[in-house]
């Protein structure tokens, strides 16, 4: 009896998680903005930024050093960025996606991801090939 209930609950959790992941796959997209508009805006933005970038630079450097980047490397790393990119980095350094690959997966959700890998919704374990 207990076993059956546990099974049902597991199935319930799995189906909710799966349904959720499916919904998340289709990302929302806003109206298309033409490149012309974007470049024009970018240019306006960059001229406003040129003064601010002087301050951004110091901010970014400090933040990066705080995050363990060697002070000797910092200047060279941000030299190849435009003022707009510097400003963006300054505001997103804490939470922008940081690509790392997979480091440590908790065992309890292991099974869920095996299944989502099998159906091809995710690709966490390279050794699992999707069924389709």
């Amino acid at each position: 009896m207990f076993k059956r209930k546990a099974k049902q609950q597991l199935a319930l959790v799995l189906s909710i998680m799966l349904a959720w992941s499916g919904l998340l796959v289709s990302g929302a997209q806003a109206g298309v903005i033409s490149s012309t508009e974007m470049i024009a805006e970018q240019h306006q933005f960059e001229s406003k930024q040129s003064l601010k970038s002087y301050f951004d630079r110091d901010d970014v450097k400090q933040q990066m050093v705080d995050m363990g980047v060697s002070p000797a490397d910092v200047d060279a790393r941000i030299d190849a960025m435009t003022p707009a990119e510097l400003a963006e980095l300054n505001s997103t350094l804490q939470d922008a996606p940081a690509g790392a690959g997979l480091v440590g997966v908790v065992l309890t959700i292991f099974i869920v991801f095996v299944i989502t890998d099998v159906i091809g919704a995710t690709d966490i374990f390279p050794f699992i090939r999707p069924v389709n």
Binding site: A76, R77, M81, E85, F113, A121, D123
Partner: protein
């Protein structure tokens, strides 16, 4: 009530597997335009990822492909952020420039990736391998495909030529907002490039002084040829020629661009200075008057008009054919 419903749902195997089937995507996902070959396996050196260094590893592979041997360790010092245990997209972009590759943001489609691969350009991609609520960010380098593009080959983590079904890849890529870069030498226009984004990418290399003037010359002159219907491509090349002191040649490109876009006041302004530098003061005055007439509220053009009016008259004879 609700829990009853879920119990029923969970108990019903048919519904459960039906759900699985739908979410998994029923048919294989493929390109809308088939790629050139049945399969392609580009000869790209593989650099294996250690710890969380997928960014440096993917970048190192791409650099080695273009005969720029930069080691994994060196790149770790250039892009890895210990506090985030990963590498940021902005830094990946900057590091590509630093090593002389043009980072061109790829269009968010499978077709675009396959076209670049067919053209011999590896594509650096960011994937979210797990979920939006539990993101696992990962960089990989697309280096080929099989099954006419229904499977992609990635240098990924510790796996060279890792085969991933296109449908799965597209889902993991979409969760990372389709972030991806075509990496090419700056004077090689990416296969899928459009004029403005290409000009923008190359201009960022100019701003950050990560491009040689020969490469800039080659890139911009090719862009003007490659996009003959793009006024911007003509203007940007003309600006470069004018900056280099080749006013006569610049005039030709301004005229070409102005035929396509006759009401561009900024281009008319620069055209006027090119004319002035070629000793054609009268034509220069005509051009700047057109710019002022188009944008009477813009002080820059009025200043230019004053400057041109006050300049010494032609030191040499004007030999320029007026446009139109």
């Amino acid at each position: 009530m609700v829990s009853d419903l879920f119990k029923k749902l969970a108990a019903s195997r048919r519904v459960f597997f039906g759900l699985l089937f739908c979410l998994g995507g029923c048919a294989g996902v493929g390109p809308t335009v088939p790629p050139k070959a049945e399969s392609l396996r580009m000869d790209v050196p593989f650099v294996s990822q250690t710890t969380a260094y997928c960014g440096p590893a993917a970048l190192s592979s791409a650099l080695q492909y273009y005969a720029k041997p930069v080691s994994l360790d060196e790149l770790v010092d250039q892009v890895f952020v210990p506090g985030r245990q990963g590498s940021l997209t902005l830094e990946m972009t900057a590091a590509s420039r630093r090593h002389g590759l043009l980072p061109y943001p790829i269009a968010p489609s499978l077709d675009a990736i396959l076209r670049e691969l067919d053209a011999g350009h590896p594509v650096l991609v960011l994937q979210n391998l797990a979920f939006n609520w539990w993101p696992q960010w990962h960089y990989a380098l697309a280096v080929g495909y099989t099954d006419e593009g229904e499977t992609l080959l990635l240098h990924s983590g510790e796996e060279p030529y890792y085969a991933i079904p296109a449908g799965t890849f597209m889902r993991t890529w979409a969760r990372a907002d389709h972030w991806g870069l075509v990496l090419t030498p700056p004077d090689q226009i990416p296969e899928t490039a459009a004029a403005l984004p290409y000009l923008n990418s190359i201009d960022k290399m100019r701003q950050t002084r990560t491009i040689t003037s020969d490469q800039l010359q080659a890139g911009l002159s090719q862009a003007a040829l490659h996009w003959p219907r793009s006024a911007s491509a003509q203007f940007v090349y003309a600006n470069w020629l004018l900056e280099k002191g080749e006013a006569q040649r610049a005039i030709g490109y301004y005229q070409r661009g102005l035929l396509l876009q006759h009401d561009n006041a900024m281009a008319l302004n620069n055209y006027a200075f090119a004319l002035l530098a070629s000793g054609c003061k009268t034509l220069a005055e005509e051009a700047i008057e057109r710019a002022v007439a188009l944008k009477p509220e813009d002080a820059r053009f009025r200043e230019s008009a004053k400057e041109i009016a006050a300049s010494d008259s032609a030191a040499r004879r004007c030999e320029v054919e007026p446009s139109r």
